[in-house]
Symmetry: C2
Subunit: 475 residues, 2 copies
């Protein structure tokens, strides 16, 4: 998941990102809005929902989501945008789906960047010699082969930094050490830090990894050079090393680093979005989209971000096909490409399909982990919220009835929800998500077979019900 773009979009449209709110819909208010017929219709899906849950939690599909995800990420590992391995992994998913007897699969080409990490090494030279644990940030420029040597200035906040003179920063290495509060609040130090440091003449910028917990674990992620600034090398270092440097700096010790980083950037690679349709029986042109992204960062296995989200979305049409459940509308699974470098696949899809966007009935995305499902984070009108809240009541037995109201839930799908298309992101028990995010530790060890089963069953049943309702989800 790449949260930066969300923050960006939210900023564009609502200025201040609204806090998520767990919806407390007064039953009587929703009852009035929905009417007893619709409520009764929603509850008529109880048996179908039970069938799906039974098939996935206790039947033939039990453990399959985990097993297929494991086979996939073990075979391909990390799948960065623009690489051959990503394209091979897309072909693999197409074959896997065809083996299920689903043939309504198309791919759509997208121009994507390839940023290839080379050698990366930071050595503390003063006050003592020590290797510093790092991961370069996306699209960082390289250093000279012998590295850049400079003294560190520790910066605790942008507010503090804005008051620093250019003189204090010129020729220095800026190290931002924000304490993690929320991802949204802390990540600007990663995504904008290099540009701000460069504007005052820094030769490189580093950021304390964006995470609440570490085992000396650096976290990569995207960053953008603002127009007009000299691009400088930029990397995230572990909490431990950032805090060590900060303690030394606070004691008045001079901290000198040598930073060696190399990388290659090619902005003109081709990747593909993958679209898998389970055609609707009555309104095949109308879509309920379930989605996750297939690309990942170049570290770990991309099992959590976003292999799990892609696989619960893959599971939806597969499970419905296996159970001979054909909803009125089409259920379309989409595997977005190049999410990590800026929702590139989602933007391309939105542009290419803009003239049929009225056909998107509801757009769903899982890209915040596939831990135990708790419900949905939903963006839409009050009526939409009431419909989804009523549907979620069907999932009390698996503790997945919570509706969180968000203006723009999700990551890729903010491209749609920011234009008023109703949608939802999987709300799940992901309190440790940022421990693993964008690290070598994003592997199958994060995933749990039973939680993936719950997620796949929940995701499939919700998509089915929405795709089969007698009414469209209102905008």
């Amino acid at each position: 998941m790449n949260f930066d773009s969300i923050v960006f979009i939210v900023t564009l449209f609502v200025i201040v990102p609204s806090e998520s709110r767990v919806l407390e819909i007064k039953s009587d208010r929703c009852e009035k809005i929905l009417g007893s017929d619709l409520i009764e219709e929603i509850w008529s899906y109880k048996n179908v929902k039970d069938d799906i849950l039974e098939y996935v939690l206790e039947g033939e599909f039990k453990g399959k989501t985990y097993d297929e995800l494991a086979k996939f990420v073990d075979k391909f590992g990390a799948r960065p945008s623009g690489t051959e391995v990503l394209e091979k992994s897309i072909d693999y998913m197409i074959d896997l789906t065809k083996n299920e007897g689903i043939n309504d699969i198309i791919t759509e080409e997208v121009k994507v960047p390839l940023w290839e990490r080379g050698e990366e090494k930071i050595t503390m030279l003063e006050p003592r010699k020590k290797d510093i644990e790092l991961l370069g940030l996306g699209k960082s420029v390289t250093t000279p082969p012998e590295g850049l040597e400079g003294e560190v200035v520790v910066v605790r906040s942008f507010e503090e930094f804005d008051n620093f003179s250019d003189e204090k920063i010129r020729g220095k290495i800026v190290l931002y050490v924000p304490v993690f509060t929320t991802y949204g609040e802390t990540v600007p130090y990663r995504s904008q830090g290099a540009s701000k440091a460069s504007a005052k003449g820094a030769i490189a910028s580093l950021v304390r990894s964006i995470t609440p917990f570490s085992l000396n674990t650096p976290h990569t992620g995207s960053q953008t050079y603002a127009d007009g600034v000299v691009p400088i090398p930029t990397a995230a270092i572990s909490l431990e090393d950032a805090d060590l440097i900060t303690r030394m700096y606070d004691r008045g010790e001079k901290v000198v680093l040598n930073i060696k980083m190399s990388s290659k950037l090619d902005e003109n690679k081709i990747s593909r979005n993958t679209l898998i349709d389970l055609k609707g029986s009555k309104h095949p042109e109308k879509l309920v989209i379930v989605s996750g992204h297939i690309d990942s960062w170049d570290v770990g296995q991309g099992a959590m971000d976003d292999g799990g989200g892609m696989f619960v979305s893959w599971a939806a049409p597969v499970i419905l096909k296996r159970l001979n459940l054909t909803p009125k509308r089409t259920v379309r699974a989409i595997f977005w490409t190049a999410e990590e470098l800026g929702l590139i696949g989602a933007h391309a899809y939105e542009e290419a399909h803009r003239n049929e966007s009225h056909n998107i009935n509801f757009v769903m995305e899982s890209d915040e982990g596939t831990f135990a499902p708790l419900g949905l984070a939903v963006g839409g009108t009050p009526t939409t919220l009431c419909i989804v809240a009523e549907i979620l009541k069907l999932f009390k037995s698996i503790n997945a009835s919570t509706l969180v109201e968000e203006d723009n839930p999700g990551s890729d799908i903010t491209v749609f929800t920011s234009k008023g298309i109703p949608g939802a992101s999987l709300h799940n028990d992901n309190g440790k998500y940022f421990w693993f995010h964008h690290t070598e530790a994003d592997t199958m060890n994060v995933e749990d077979p039973d939680e993936l089963d719950l997620g796949a069953a929940f995701w499939t049943a919700v998509a089915y019900i929405i795709a089969d309702l007698s009414i469209d989800i209102p905008r």
Copy 2:
């Protein structure tokens, strides 16, 4: 902390390591054993205890243990046995102590090994290319410069392994993948795995790191080549990589690795135990020892293992000196050297001082973390346990009144307790200890200033009371 030696010693003396037991001493039984005079005497230390707690938790010493520990580990980093940095760190501690006006400091030379880690790299060649995260194990031999190439055999338990034919293992790389239960149960796969694998003709052995949690974090530690077996290269790999290889192996895929490891071993270096005395007023020859080890593994900062333990032990004579509290017996702080390679400093001390061992009244060690103190793990006679239990009642206000009964508590001090000398190990809230143990993540980020204050205050007050009691601790 090096638990292997404990397991060894426990095995020698009691065959099956006894489980720790939280002591439920019936009040009336202890009352009878102790008698009302002794109980009254113990409670007479309430005010002294309060003074010590106040001085450390709210007074001039507040935050000092953390600050001094940070300065120390930030300055020296890891301090492996046999290195110059370890010896410099010993000199630093002597100066730090002298600055407190304590001059009864001696060091005693100990012959220790130096095992220096060189290049370490494991590459998976089949079924796909991937770097494997590793740390070589202590005293591992090197590979040829081009590395060793071999097919992996995954082994889940020694029971399973014992049934494998030599033919299945000959020429292979053995990967042990025990699931972590307790450290004591799981660590033999690290400490004995290479020998067992070599005995059946393996060319190298790897072990899933001995930890319940990982962020792709390898954990080093000691291992011993048994007499008569060919020493083979041996390393720990991360849980994530071990589990990846296991999944591939279980799918019937052939897993081929190249292992490159280099190291140097010199068995004849000299290090020092450090002894700091706060001389007793009445029985200066009688000792209450507080201790931790100053050496560490060669990764991380050795802040938890065992910087924290050493510093709460350093704090005891320093705080007593500052508060003009002179107990009847001598409080001796000892910083053991070369614990990690087999309690070498402790064994040397025990040998050198064997003819005065009757003077050790009580021996205390903190080497299982300095998280919030909960009480003591104690080895001794029923009377000893009752005395300590009564003393611990004084620490209800800081929730440190728990007595855990153990036959041989601690690590270094098992050298003494196994000979019947009563002793105790700091019992603390260390549920995550093995997340950090022997890794790059053993840094100041594990430590908490307030918890260190609690530990230092508790440690000092307990040592003072025992050193000042009218009676010796019985054996």
